[in-house]
Structures are given as structure tokens and as C-alpha cells.
């Protein structure tokens, strides 16, 4: 093994141990944390001054972003087939819930029942819209491991020629 490749592997392992494990744990619990924060917000009626969820999303975003963009770190996603789908789906989940909390929190900065109701429904609309967008994105770009990508069939869009569909081998 070349020294540079060995170094890259060590870097990837260290990155996984020191950054990714904690990130994965946070990704797992963050949607529930956001739901809990929303519940507290609705029950107390008062916003919180700092929004820890968006800060958390920022930190997780840069850790995940670097892991997917730096070639030496991508090895994690090749070696652990479950990692890419897990990170993608849970990051989207966490992001949607963090934005939802941010919207509601902003609405509760002023004590006005009409404003509270408006921002509550705005939050619901945002969750539904973002979940639909997420579904569309993963329909177009399925969150799959490398092995699954190898066996992937092309996704057809409406209007595509029927002959192309027919030319596909059937499994």
C-alpha cells in the first residue's frame, strides 16, 4: 500500500472516530430533540433566545459536507455501505425539523395568539413541503450504497420514450 493511501485511510478512520460517530448519534436523536423543543415552546408560549438546533445543523453540515467532498474521507462511504443512506436521510430529517423549530420560535418571539397560530401553520406547511421535496429528491437520486447503485435501474421520467423502457433487461 502506498504511503499516501495509508495516510488517507488513517485520516478517514480518525475523522470517523472523532467526528462522524458523534455526528451519527446526534443525527439519530436530533429530530426527537426538535420535537421536544417544539412541544416545550407550545406549552410555555415563550421563545428561546438562542436556537441551538440551527447551530447543531451548521456543525453537522460542515462535518458531513467535508466527509462527502474530500476524496480521502469518502472511503468511509465505500467501506460502510449503510453510512451514505443513513447520513443523507437523517440529515434531511434533522434539517427539516430544525427549520420547523426556527420558524415556530420566531413566531413566539412576540406574544400574539394570531401570530402564534400563523407561525404554527407555517411550520406545518414547511414540514409537509420539505418532506415532499425530500421524497422527490430521493426518488430522483436514491439514497443507496455503492453496491446498490451498481444494481440500480435508471429512473424514468414522464414523457420518456417507451422504446427506452422496453429496451431495459427485465430482472
Amino acid at each position: 500500500m502506498k504511503a499516501s493511501r495509508l495516510l488517507a485511510n488513517v485520516f478517514a478512520v480518525l475523522y470517523f472516530v472523532f467526528f462522524m460517530i458523534a455526528t451519527l448519534f446526534i443525527l439519530l436523536i436530533m429530530p426527537f430533540m426538535c420535537l421536544s423543543d417544539i412541544q416545550v415552546l407550545l406549552s410555555t408560549g415563550f421563545a428561546v433566545p438562542d436556537n441551538p438546533n440551527m447551530v447543531m445543523i451548521g456543525v453537522i453540515g460542515i462535518i458531513i459536507g467535508l466527509s462527502m467532498l474530500i476524496p480521502a474521507l469518502k472511503i468511509m462511504y465505500y467501506k460502510l455501505p449503510w453510512l451514505a443512506p443513513f447520513v443523507k436521510i437523517f440529515f434531511c430529517n434533522s434539517l427539516i425539523m430544525a427549520v420547523a423549530f426556527t420558524i415556530l420560535n420566531y413566531g413566539y418571539e412576540v406574544q400574539n395568539p394570531a401570530r402564534h397560530r400563523a407561525f404554527f401553520w407555517l411550520m406545518i406547511a414547511q414540514i409537509v413541503a420539505c418532506r415532499l421535496a425530500m421524497s422527490f429528491y430521493f426518488h430522483k437520486r436514491p439514497a443507496k450504497s455503492l453496491e446498490e447503485t451498481e444494481h440500480e435501474q435508471p429512473v424514468f421520467v414522464r414523457g420518456q420514450k417507451q422504446e427506452e423502457k422496453a429496451a431495459l433487461p427485465s430482472f
Binding site: N51, G65, Q111, K144
Partner: protein, 182 residues
């Protein structure tokens, strides 16, 4: 044999490329989320005013040198509620005031009233000042609504006399600023 392996190798390369492309796309998305989150998150540390005027203001609780939005302290300290009378010669019917949290942004809520009537809904005070238009004569009250921790402390800047008042209002109690035209 070789003829069978070659297409498989090419297929592997193709799917690896596709997998890589998707990682890059999502990586870019995650980085964009990072920048957006940093943009919308509250700034970690505000620019504290540590000038002599700011120090004097913290002692005197009144300053003509501070501008609206000056942040003076990292934490709330106990401030006794004080009422003020503001005498002025302005002939304007109305004037502007700015209300903000000059210490820790800890979730304090206040409400602005004019002659006992609500001018605003209760709102969270932040470092960024909120501006209101009030009559140039009469009573302007600032009522403490909710203590986010360490007592409700706020600053109010009056356009009429260019003065900033650092005050405290326990929950449910008012600070009254009486505006008198001379």
C-alpha cells in the same frame, strides 16, 4: 472470459462515478446548509461596548453618549426599577424610542404601553433594538413580562433627548417615562 469481465469493470466504474457524484452533490448541499445555519444563527459574541462612556453608563444607568443597540454586558445584573421624567422642547407630536437588551440575550420579554394602553404585544428583547413611535407627551411605560434569567434588564433610547436609560422591570411591574413638553 476477458470479453465478459470488461463490461462488468466498466459497469463498476460507471456506478462508482455515479455514487461519487451523488456524494459530491449531497456534500455540497450539507455545506450550503452549514453556511445558511451560520447566517441565521445568532452571532456567538456581540460587539461589546467597552468604552469609558459605556462604563459610566453602567454605573449611572443613564447616558447621552450611547447609541441605540449598544451592548454593554455579558450577563444581567440586578437593576432597581427607576421611573424618569423627560423634559423637552420638541414641538413634534410623536417621537421614536428604541428598546433592546443591553446585557445577555436571555429571553426577557417586555411590553411597551402609552398612558396605560398597550402599544405593542409583549416581545422578546434582543441586542438588535426595536423601534416604536410614541406621543411626545404623556407616559411611556415599559412593563416586564417574563424573566429569562437574572432579572429583566433592558435599555431604552429616546430620540427626544438623545438619552439612553438602562433599567430593570420585574415581571408584571412597569417603569414609567413621563414626557413633558416645556
Amino acid at each position: 472470459m476477458e470479453a465478459e469481465e470488461k463490461p462488468r469493470f466498466l459497469a463498476d466504474q460507471e456506478s462508482r462515478k455515479k455514487f461519487n457524484k451523488r456524494l459530491n452533490e449531497f456534500g455540497g448541499f450539507a455545506l450550503a446548509a452549514f453556511f445558511a445555519a451560520m447566517f441565521f444563527s445568532p452571532s456567538g459574541s456581540p460587539n461589546y461596548d467597552v468604552s469609558d462612556a459605556a462604563k459610566r453608563a453602567l454605573e449611572d444607568r443613564v447616558s447621552t453618549a450611547l447609541s441605540a443597540g449598544a451592548v454593554l454586558a455579558a450577563s444581567d445584573d440586578t437593576v432597581q426599577p427607576v421611573d424618569y421624567t423627560i423634559r423637552h422642547q420638541s414641538q413634534d407630536e410623536s417621537t421614536r424610542i428604541w428598546v433592546w437588551d443591553y446585557a445577555a440575550e436571555d429571553g426577557d420579554y417586555v411590553q411597551v404601553l402609552v398612558n396605560g394602553t398597550s402599544l405593542t404585544e409583549p416581545f422578546m428583547i434582543k441586542h438588535k433594538p426595536r423601534a416604536f413611535t410614541v406621543p411626545a407627551t404623556g407616559d411611556v411605560q415599559i412593563r416586564g413580562i417574563r424573566d429569562g434569567g437574572g432579572g429583566i434588564t433592558y435599555a431604552v433610547h429616546f430620540e427626544l433627548n438623545g438619552t439612553t436609560y438602562l433599567n430593570g422591570a420585574p415581571p408584571g411591574e412597569d417603569n414609567t417615562y413621563t414626557l413633558i413638553r416645556e
